[in-house]
């Protein structure tokens, strides 16, 4: 079965791309660990938005919602664990600079 994708696909694709660039830039241009986490979150927002837009355009909204709920659960676990790692890192190095990770073992 072929799904006809309407022209509004390009509108959603444009804003998905903008959010993706924003998140990537935020992650790459900073040395602060919390800001890297915020960039990762913006990237997740772009993926979530595109999943919902794909479900909306293809008429499979229930499936898209089920996937988005899975993404949100994974997202919150990732954020909580990474926040714990950042706090542990700050307690050890008294800094949030990602450059200090070079001194870590492993």
């Amino acid at each position: 079965m072929t799904i006809e994708i309407p022209q509004s696909f390009w509108l959603y694709f444009t804003f998905f791309t903008l959010l993706l660039i924003d998140g990537l830039w935020c992650m790459l241009a900073t040395r602060n660990l919390v800001r890297i986490l915020i960039g990762l979150e913006i990237l997740m927002k772009s993926v979530t938005f595109f999943l919902i837009a794909a479900g909306y355009l293809s008429g499979r909204m229930a499936l898209a919602q089920a996937l988005v709920i899975t993404v949100i659960v994974i997202e919150v676990v990732v954020v909580v664990v990474v926040a714990g790692v950042i706090l542990g890192f700050f307690r050890k190095h008294d800094s949030l600079d990602v450059g200090n990770t070079r001194s870590m073992k492993g």
């Binding site: 696909f9 509108l11 709920i69």
Partner: protein, 164 residues
């Protein structure tokens, strides 16, 4: 469609503010605003259950976690903060122009999209899909939640002393 476009523009602006603002607390609030706006977009597309999850978990819980992390870390000295602000400006000033350029370039693309997909039957209610058709996803979610709980317990455990 105009309202949706305006909503998406505000969504990208909120995300831009979250990534460009100097204070971490404002960045966390910008991210919460982005999540709330994304929830509105989801709701207007008919994804009500996902919108509720986005609003409660992403705009609520994750913002609380980020604000807590920010408050538990110390502020930089004023001199270092000012130097960092100038350095940040150098690294971030191209971002709005890149976003505008990419947005304008993509707005001229109107190529027809034809995607052939095999569509499975039975895509009705989201609850039916989530609980009946995607049971493996739920199992994975439970495992990931447990992994997260154990991860936090391991990260925050107290180091054993020799007296214990």
């Amino acid at each position: 469609m105009i309202w949706m476009t305006l909503l998406l523009v505000v969504l990208v602006l909120a995300a831009l503010w979250a990534s460009m603002t100097t204070a971490l607390l404002r960045a966390a609030l910008g991210l919460a605003l982005t999540s709330a706006l994304l929830a509105v977009v989801m709701f207007s597309m008919g994804a009500t259950l996902a919108a509720v999850m986005e609003l409660s978990v992403c705009a609520g819980l994750i913002s609380v976690v980020l604000v807590s992390v920010t408050s538990l870390t110390e502020r930089r000295p004023l001199k270092e903060a000012l130097a960092n602000r100038r350095s940040r400006l150098r690294r971030y000033w191209p971002l709005p122009f890149v976003l505008i350029a990419v947005g304008v370039a993509l707005s001229f693309v109107h190529a027809p999209v034809e995607i052939a997909l095999r569509v499975p039957a039975g895509d009705g209610d989201v609850r039916t899909v989530l609980w009946s058709l995607r049971q493996l996803d739920l199992f994975g979610q439970i495992l990931i939640l447990l992994a997260g709980v154990f991860g936090v317990l391991v990260l925050f455990r107290k180091e054993a002393t020799h007296d214990d």
